[in-house]
């Protein structure tokens, strides 16, 4: 396990470099938007990775509530943290692209609003974890994660009622995309997923060690009291 980490880190770095090269030099230029379209290779993979991490968070939270396993809780925490980072990347790169293409930074469109609400829900999840320092934090956080997941379809329908301006999803949304662009997009997604996995892994180890240290300190202070 310990040896796998640097190997994966090197592989991820290579993959990210290759994906960067592909996105900037190899991918064909978009006819109407020009170079600014290349932000798409960062925006979309970040979004997919963020949504993937939020799903991991939900699954880990449910597992925690059923099994009460501390590992599931650590996974939930880590995936929410890294997911919020990727979601922030999505929310920052989106307006940078939208300004020259749509002429506006932000619009209250379906996918934008949904992403923003998801971001808000997960930030409140992290705030809850930060502010609650009892041993019950995992339980409360897991319950909040489930509430957040229940909220997503409702948010979707509430915004679906308005006309949507965002480009249709490139996969399974009826939109068309140049196969070379799709190729670059998928490489970027793979690179981003590896990167997210790597960060989660490192963060998980830190979290696990931190818990071990806290436990040892608690035991030590108990020991001091009994003596």
């Amino acid at each position: 396990m310990k040896r796998a980490f640097p190997i994966l880190a090197v592989l991820t770095a290579l993959l990210l470099a290759y994906a960067f090269y592909e996105a900037i030099w190899v991918a064909p230029m978009e006819r109407t938007m020009g170079d600014v379209q290349r932000i798409f290779y960062y925006h979309v993979p970040s979004a997919w990775t963020a949504f993937l991490l939020f799903s991991v968070n939900l699954v880990a939270s449910v597992i925690y509530l059923i099994r009460r396993s501390a590992k599931a809780d650590a996974v939930a925490l880590v995936s929410a943290e890294v997911g919020v980072v990727f979601c922030t990347v999505v929310l920052v790169t989106g307006p940078i692209w939208a300004r020259p293409v749509w002429g506006i930074w932000w619009t209250w469109d379906l996918r934008l609003t949904l992403t923003l609400v998801l971001w808000l829900i997960y930030v409140s999840y992290l705030v809850l974890r930060k502010f609650s320092d009892s041993s019950q934090t995992p339980k409360l956080a897991a319950v909040l994660a489930i509430f957040g997941a229940l909220d997503v379809p409702l948010v979707y329908f509430s915004i679906w009622f308005f006309r949507t301006q965002h480009p249709q999803p490139v996969i399974g949304g009826g939109g068309s995309i140049d196969p070379r662009m799709l190729h670059v997009l998928l490489i970027n997604w793979l690179a981003f997923s590896c990167f997210a996995f790597l960060v989660c892994w490192a963060r998980y180890q830190i979290e696990w060690m931190q818990r071990g240290v806290d436990e040892a300190e608690a035991l030590e202070s108990l020991d001091g009291v009994t003596r």
Partner: protein, 225 residues
């Protein structure tokens, strides 16, 4: 089932009696939402046509803020003298306590709305152009949507530091679809453009989904200590 109902009723009447004698929550909520309405009317100076468009948003935001004032006090009373601990070890079902608290808050916020809505209509010269009776289901479903999650999150934030600020931080993101539905439904009814049916159904769905979730998970939250 009968024990659930009798315990719910007992807790609810106890809370209402306490509130009736002190009138702490209702007075602070009424004054608070009055202040919000007045401040809004200084911030915007709308004519009748514009105010129809924005009144739905203003009124529900005022009620949302005022509801948080009441929701924050929901459980504070039970913390004193370890009432909540006593409840935890008693065989009474946890959901009875939750339902009583949620219903109590629902009654409080409904009273607030009944008093404030006419005042709002006067201040903003409002007259519904659509079917005004539809405002009643919107108000009932919307209030329940705010209150059911609010009561639940208030119980959750009991275990956190600075719990007064924690409640809105948890409640507002989750309430976004409910608030949007209430505001849109109210706007459509006041301006009389189209049917508010979609929003009322969405509110109903929100209520059903989150009432179920709250009842299913409240036991976990109550026992968390």
């Amino acid at each position: 089932m009968s024990s659930l109902r009798s315990i719910t009723l007992a807790t609810l009447t106890k809370d209402i009696r306490l509130e009736w004698r002190s009138r702490d929550a209702i007075n602070s909520m009424l004054f608070f939402s009055l202040l919000v309405v007045v401040i809004f009317s200084f911030s915007f100076d709308p004519n009748a046509e514009e105010s129809r468009e924005i009144a739905g948003g203003l009124i529900w935001v005022a009620f949302l803020f005022a509801a948080v004032v009441a929701l924050n006090q929901t459980w504070a009373r039970e913390l004193r003298n370890q009432v909540l601990d006593a409840y935890r070890v008693s065989p009474a079902p946890a959901n009875a306590l939750f339902l009583a608290k949620a219903l109590g808050n629902f009654i409080l916020v409904s009273v607030l709305e009944a008093v404030m809505a006419p005042l709002f209509m006067i201040f903003y010269n409002l007259r519904a152009l659509g079917p005004a009776w539809q405002l009643i289901p919107v108000a009932i479903l919307g209030t329940w949507a705010l209150v059911v999650n609010g009561t639940f999150f208030a119980a959750m934030s009991l275990r956190t530091r600075s719990r007064e600020i924690m409640l809105p931080l948890l409640l507002f993101p989750i309430s976004i679809p409910a608030v949007q539905s209430m505001v849109e439904a109210t706007r459509i009814i006041l301006a009389g453009d189209g049917s508010a049916r979609f929003w009322i159904i969405l509110l109903l769905t929100y209520d059903v989904v989150f009432t179920t979730a709250c009842l299913a998970l409240f036991e976990t939250i109550l026992q968390a200590e």
